[in-house]
Amino acid sequence: MDKAFLTVDNLNKRYADDAPPVFDKVSFSIDKGEFVCIIGHSGCGKTTILNVLAGLEAPSGGVVIMDQREVKGPSLDRGVVFQSHALMPWFSVLSNVVFAVRSRWPDWSRDKAEQHARRFIEMVGLKGAEHKKPSELSGGMKQRVGIARAFSIEPKMLLMDEPFGALDALTRGVVQDELLKICSATHQTVFMITHDVDEAILLADKIFLMSNGPHARIAEVVVNTMPKTRTRETMHHDPQFYRIRNHLVDFLVHRSRRIQEAGVEDAVTRVVTPGLEEDKLSQAVA
């Protein structure tokens, strides 16, 4: 635990003093190079947790420690991909990325920053669209620019808030592949919110499952037991895929509420490896 790259300890957040906390006793850790997805029903505070990690929101209690330093306020060490892409419409694609690059390295020359930005635009497959305005791009392309912008500052950690939520299934697949490729090439540490169970299985090394809010917490950490070489095309032929998938869907359908009703006394985060340890799984279901 001490060696973990990012440690979250006993985090909670309440929006009003007399209201119950949205989430409570949230503790987890993420290792360097790990890809973590977090799944939970709406209102369990996923986005708030991500905002706390980004430094955009302060928690009501608890600490976040990244790379041996407490997270207080936003930092260039953490890149954020926003749900609504959040590109500046008055900048071209290139300028959007250059804006981020020059924020990271203010003393770089315009040329150097542009070269650096172009490399990341190429990486997300948008070569040739550098001078287009975001309004001229499709939803998927906009989101890719957002990803390029987040990667271009070479953050120690990438935070993504449902980056593909607004995309259609086909585009989503293409951008997921793109992301997977980049992440495995750069060994990026990623924390990502998603609603899509398949997406989580494809991308994540670990999947955090949150119980319902209020009093939400991370009830289970599901270790992805599929081989690293999984791809979107072949993943669903592996019986292991369905074991994990069923486990996740069961959680969302049944257990997420039951855990909330059981209360906070049972605030233990179970580590689950579906398909490998059937006994633990059955214990969690019971």
Partner: protein, 292 residues
């Protein structure tokens, strides 16, 4: 493409027709008196009228009517004369329309520019700080509805210069729309963009110029456009009051000369100039508008 251009042509045709009708009505409204005079002339009273005309320094043979509402021909004559030599200067009471217009534009430009220099930074402050917004709101709400001309006596007394007082009045009337719109535009910049700037640790000045200013620019330009419209309305009234130079003074002076054709001509010039100013700001607005 085709239906749109067709629509344009049809609209232009109707506009021309309306314009033609207006001219015709004008002509008919002013014409009958002339015929009446000609009838009177055929009667024996013509010699007395000729005499009177000679006394007044005018020849009776002149077909141009000198009293009553001017006709189209007189109007055309005045316009031709004024436009042929718009920049002549025969002393303080007789300057060409171009010079007068130049004075007015200079006053409006100066007052407007000073207003922009004050209103836009102040609007930024109001937009970014809810505290300042609340603190300054009562002042703004009370000062905003005051007719700019009501400031004139105070301005004349303290500044003691009619020309600068005119500029001050333009300043005071254009400052409010710009201030309100800038504050509103800055306050309603999308959270997402500010969050991006935050996570990128963008320095305040860089954030102001590269994120907030472009995001709020369309709203700010709207405020400037409204301000310019008001300034152009007010300058005519202000110049009528303080006199000396300017298009407003020109109107008043020609009224005192009972030269209605010149007054009508000046009105047209004021209208066209106002339209051009508005078009310029519409163009600027288009430049800074972004589509999301």
């Amino acid at each position: 493409m085709k239906p749109a251009s067709q629509l344009g042509w049809r609209a232009a045709l109707i506009s021309l027709a309306i314009f033609g009708c207006l001219l015709l009505v004008w002509h008919l409204a002013t014409a009958p008196k002339e015929s009446a005079r000609i009838e009177a002339g055929s009667a024996s009273s013509s010699s007395a009228e000729d005499e009177y005309a000679k006394l007044m320094g005018k020849s009776s043979s002149s077909p141009v009517k000198t009293s009553g509402f001017p006709g189209l021909a007189q109007m055309g004559e005045t316009m031709r004369k004024e436009l042929a030599n718009p920049f002549y200067d025969n002393g303080p009471n007789d300057k060409g329309i171009g010079i007068q217009l130049g004075y007015s534009l200079a006053r409006v430009g100066l007052g407007f520019a000073i207003a922009a220099l004050v209103a836009i930074p102040l609007g930024f402050l109001l937009g970014m700080s809810p505290l300042m917004q609340r603190a300054l709101n009562p002042f703004i709400q009370i000062l905003k509805p005051i007719s700019p001309l009501a400031w004139m006596p105070l301005a004349l007394y303290t500044i003691k210069d009619s020309s600068i007082s005119g500029i001050f009045v333009i300043f005071i009337c254009s400052v409010w729309p710009m201030l309100m719109n800038t504050a509103f535009g800055v306050a309603s910049v999308r959270r997402d963009w500010l969050n991006v700037a935050k996570t990128l640790e963008v320095k305040p000045l860089r954030k102001a110029f590269l994120v907030i200013l472009p995001a709020a620019a369309p709203t700010i330009l709207t405020g400037m456009r409204i301000s310019m419209g008001i300034a152009w309305l007010v300058i005519v009234a202000a110049e009528m009051l303080v006199g000396g130079t300017g298009i407003g003074y020109f109107v008043w002076n020609e009224w005192n000369n009972l030269s209605l054709t010149s007054v009508i001509f000046a009105i047209l010039v004021i209208g066209v100039t106002g339209m051009v100013l508005d078009l310029v700001f519409a163009r600027l607005q288009k430049l800074v508008t972004y589509t999301e």
